[in-house]
Structure formats: C-alpha cells, structure tokens
C-alpha cells in the first residue's frame, strides 16, 4: 500500500506535467491558428458527445508541418542551429581538453580545488555569465579597448551581435560540461601506459595520440553530447550575443510564440526540434550504457 503510494505520487506528477503537456503540444501543432482565446482551433468539446470528438479529429491536419517546409526560414533555422551546435561543440572540445588534461595531471592535492573552480561558474547564473560577455565584446567594450591600446587594431572590431560572439558565449558557458567528463576519464587512466608506449619507442606526441586520446574517448563523447544537445535548442545566447543574422531554432520558436502569437506553428517547430534531438539523445544514451557495462 505504502509502496504503491510512493510510486504513484512522482509517477502521476510526471504524467500530468510532462507527458500530457507533450501530447497537448502535439495536438496543437495539428490545429489551425484562430482569432480566439485560446488562439487555435479546434478545441475538444465533450458536450456534443461522440460527434464532437469525431468533428475534433477530422479538423486536425498536417498543414503547419507543410508550412515549415515551404517557408525557408524554418529549415534554415534548423540547419543553422545544428551547424552552430556542431562548430561550438568542436571549439569547446579544443578549449576544454587541455584544461581537463592539465587537471588530471596536476598534483593530487590540487585536484579537488581545481574541480571546485570548474564547478563554481556552473552554479552561477547562466544569464549573468552570458551578460558578462556583452560588456567585453561590444564596440566600445573591454576587448576592443585593450586591442586599440596595444595598437593591434586601429578601428574597433564588431564582435557583439555576430555569430562569433555566439560561439564565444557557448564555449564559455558550456565549458564545465566538456571538462568534467573528460577529466574523469583521464583521471582514471593508468599513467604507466604512457611510459610503456614511450619505452616502446613512441614520441610523447605519438603516445598522446595513440594512447591518451583513445582512452579518454568515452569522456570526449559524453562531453560533446552534453554540449551539443542543449545548444541546439539554445535561446539566451543567440538572443543576447547574436545579431539579426544569427538564426537559431530556439529563438524562432520563442518569437513565433511571443511575437507572432502563432501557437500551432510554434508547437510544430517544437515537435520537429524534438525529432531532430532524438538522434543525438539515443546515441548519447547508448554511449553511456556501453560505459556502465564496460565498468562492471
């Protein structure tokens, strides 16, 4: 009895506030926009009994999805989100790997402190961390002041409100997600393997490519997915650091909903975004499962 209660409470909560809302999105994505409250049609009317329900289903169609393929704004936004996510994941890996490597090779008594230093920014507000870059990258910002002062440039660079700023913002905010899994893979590595490789005639660089990188691969893969999956749907970074040329699907969905008040199209955008995300999520889960099996 008690057990049933313990299962039922979180179960029902998630059904009501996670699964049901998802089906509502799916349903509204098949509806039409209307000048009404709520601004879509049809709405389910049980008072008319069976014919009301039949009527309801006959009015649902795939019109909004057809619209998504016809207007090139949407598929361009999907493509550019995926492109930005892939490039920024790669950049985060380039920046994050040396840090994780340095941490794993640091004296053991330093490591908890270094871990703490990586985790601390993760706890501070995401919004504030993105905002911090607005002051740095703007035309009269600190970076341009520094570059002008050193004489490297003579006119300020335009970085804020471009894709470059978006990449910088993503690498900065998602760096801990990349560092931590790579660090935990590298920390477990047996360093005598490197010595063995060097004894067998590898140079240090060869040993790194042939031994260290393959052994840290699970960490690299986990880190890349942890960065890429949320970045595809990112909203805050493109809207604060990006410009009018930065096309990302999270921002399109937001504007479709809040500015155009087109709920059916916003819902269709959400459903397609989820379908795109299913692929990396399934791959990620398979990687994690392989990981746990390998450890057992």
């Amino acid at each position: 009895m008690r057990r049933a209660f313990l299962i039922a409470v979180p179960y029902v909560w998630l059904l009501a506030l996670f699964l049901v809302p998802f089906f509502i999105v799916l349903k509204i994505s098949l509806s039409d926009i209307a000048l009404a409250i709520p601004p879509y049609t049809p709405t389910l009317d049980f008072s008319q009994g069976w014919s009301g329900i039949k009527d309801f289903f006959s009015q649902l169609d795939l019109e909004n999805y057809v619209w998504l393929t016809e207007d090139d704004l949407y598929w361009k936004a999907y493509l550019s989100s995926v492109k930005i996510a892939l490039i920024s994941t790669f950049l985060t890996l380039l920046v994050g790997y040396p840090i994780a490597y340095g941490m794993a090779r640091a004296p053991a008594e330093w490591r908890p402190t270094l871990m703490m230093l990586v985790i601390l920014p993760f706890w501070t507000s995401f919004l504030i961390r993105v905002y911090a870059w607005m002051g740095i990258l703007s035309n009269e910002g600190y970076l341009n002041q520094l570059l002008l002062w050193t004489g490297l440039i003579s006119t300020p660079l335009t970085i804020l409100n471009t894709n470059t700023a978006v990449y910088i913002g993503i690498v900065y905010t998602y760096l801990p997600f990349m560092i931590l899994p790579i660090y935990s893979a590298l920390e477990r590595m047996d360093e005598s393997l490197i010595e063995a490789a060097e004894d067998l005639g590898c140079s240090r660089v060869q040993a790194f490519w042939l031994v260290t990188i393959p052994l840290s691969r699970p960490g690299i893969i986990a880190g890349c997915f942890l960065v890429m999956i949320p970045v595809i749907g990112e909203f805050v970074i493109p809207s604060l650091l990006g410009g009018s040329g930065t096309l990302m699907i999270g921002k399109v969905l937001w504007e479709e909903f809040f500015s155009n008040r087109d709920w059916p199209v916003a819902s269709a955008v959400a459903v397609v975004l989820l379908l795109i995300l299913v692929i990396p999520i399934v791959l990620f889960q398979r990687n994690q499962q392989k990981q746990t099996e390998a450890e057992q």
Partner: protein, 272 residues
C-alpha cells in the same frame, strides 16, 4: 612524477583565466562611479544603493526566492521518492515509461518544456502566476534531484536496510533511521541543485509566469536586452557572491559529513 609540466601549467592558467576574467571584470565595474560601464571613473558603491531602492528588482527577487524555496523542496521530496522507487522499487507496471520520464526532461530544450507546460496551464484554465512557475520548476528539477539521489542509492550497501528490517524496523522506520541518514548528503546537494536551477531559470519562467509574477531572471533579461548597465553589474555581483559562499559552505559541510560517516564505519568495523 606528477610535477606540473610547462604545457599543463600554461593550459590550466589560460583555461581558468578564460573562466574567471569575465566575471572579475563584471565585479570590478559594478563599483564604477560612471554610468558608462566601459569607462572607469573611480570607486563607488552607489549602484548598490540604487539597487536597494529599486522596488521592481526587490519584488522580483522576493518572487524568485519564494518560487525557488517551494519548488526545490517539492522537487527534493518527489525526486527522492522517484529515485527510491527506481533503485529499490523492483518491477512495477510502466517502469520503463517512468524512468524515461525521469531522464527525458534532463535533455529537453527549455523552450519546449516551457511551451508545453504553458499550453497545459492554459488548457486547464490555471491562472499564470507564482503557482504555475513552482509547478514548472518542480517538474524539471525533480528529475535532477532524482539522478543525484539515485547515484548515491546505487552505491550504498543494501544489507544495512535489510539488517534494520530484520531487527524489527518497519519499512518506514528503516528508511527514516537507516537510508535517509546515509543518502542525506545527496539529498541536500539535490536540493541545492534544484534551488539554483530555479533561481537561474529564464526560459521556462518566461513561458509560465503571468503579469502578476515576474522573476529576477526575467527582469534582468529585459533590462540586459537594452545593453550593459552598472545596476545589473551590481546585482550580478551580489548573486555571484551568494552562490560562491553557498557552494563553498555546502562543499565543506558535505565533506565533513562524509568524513564523519567514514569514521563511524571504521568504528563499527573495529567493534565487530
């Protein structure tokens, strides 16, 4: 062995400089006299003074704190129950669906979570306000709590619970007297995680809040869209300070608790 090589020292220094310099600049310029944020004009704490008098920010902060306290507490209770059910519950109808619903919100884009919850609230005619934000935050943060707690539940020795049951505890007593004290550090860090997730959240709160309840991130976001302002710098500095103190205290407390637990275990081993 294990001396820091030249390459590693450089990559650590550059890496941590990259992580911390933006925030340090933000903090320094919150003490700037000038309204122009990018020009230094002398030390002043006047922006903090203005912040304290800005009622819109204070109201939003109060809403945010209430939402965070309620939602993280609810999320901790639900998330711990969910973790317990997943790890110890055995088989039950729809278990796969249940674990799927625990993990899916972790990777769900915030815009989708926000949109779907808003459409639900409108569908059932619930007025948007503090209650709807609490419901939304509880839903996604309970999944984070449950992941944190279940990783602790998996690693601890189940025979301790069985011993308590053999010695005449009811299942509820065994949970309260044995399981809960052992998983307490994970439950506390789960609560902290849920609390900061709620404090931080902009996207889901924007979808699920109404005109009657504006949270601090929503307020900051609309101010920041217009550009950098010294007042926001001051506010950010305060938030960074609170989080830093909180995280360091929490890590010291859990470290102490873990050390005490280890000592207890060693003492128990000696007594045998």
């Amino acid at each position: 062995m294990n001396r820091l090589s030249w390459f590693n020292a450089v990559s650590l220094t550059l890496g941590f400089a990259f992580l911390y310099i933006p925030m340090i600049i933000l903090i320094i310029f919150s003490f700037n006299e000038s309204k122009l944020v990018t020009v230094w004009a002398g030390f002043s704490t006047k922006w903090y003074g203005e912040l304290v008098q800005n009622e819109a920010f204070l109201d939003a902060a109060w809403v945010t704190i209430r939402v965070a306290v309620f939602s993280s507490t609810l999320a901790t209770i639900l998330g711990t129950a969910a973790a317990y059910v997943l790890v110890r519950g055995g088989r039950f109808f729809g278990r796969t669906l249940f674990s799927g619903m625990i993990y899916a919100p972790l990777v769900m884009p915030e815009v989708i979570t926000g949109l779907s919850l808003l459409l639900l609230f409108i569908g059932i005619g619930l007025d948007r306000g503090i209650l709807t934000i609490v419901l939304a935050h509880t839903t996604f943060s309970m999944c984070f709590v449950s992941v944190v707690v279940s990783s602790r539940l998996v690693t601890f020795d189940q025979s301790l619970e069985e011993a308590a049951l053999d010695l005449g505890c009811s299942p509820a007593q065994a949970f309260r007297l044995v399981t809960l004290p052992i998983i307490a550090p994970a439950v506390i860090s789960g609560w902290l995680l849920a609390f900061t997730l709620s404090l931080d959240d902009l996207v889901i709160a924007s979808f699920t809040s109404g005109p009657s309840a504006t949270t601090l991130p929503i307020k900051i976001f609309s101010a920041v869209r217009l550009g950098v302002s010294p007042e926001i710098n001051a506010l950010s500095t305060l938030m960074i300070a609170v989080v830093t103190v909180g995280v360091i205290t929490a890590s010291l407390v859990t470290k102490r608790a873990m050390m005490r637990q280890k000592q207890d275990e060693m003492a128990a081993a000696r007594a045998e």
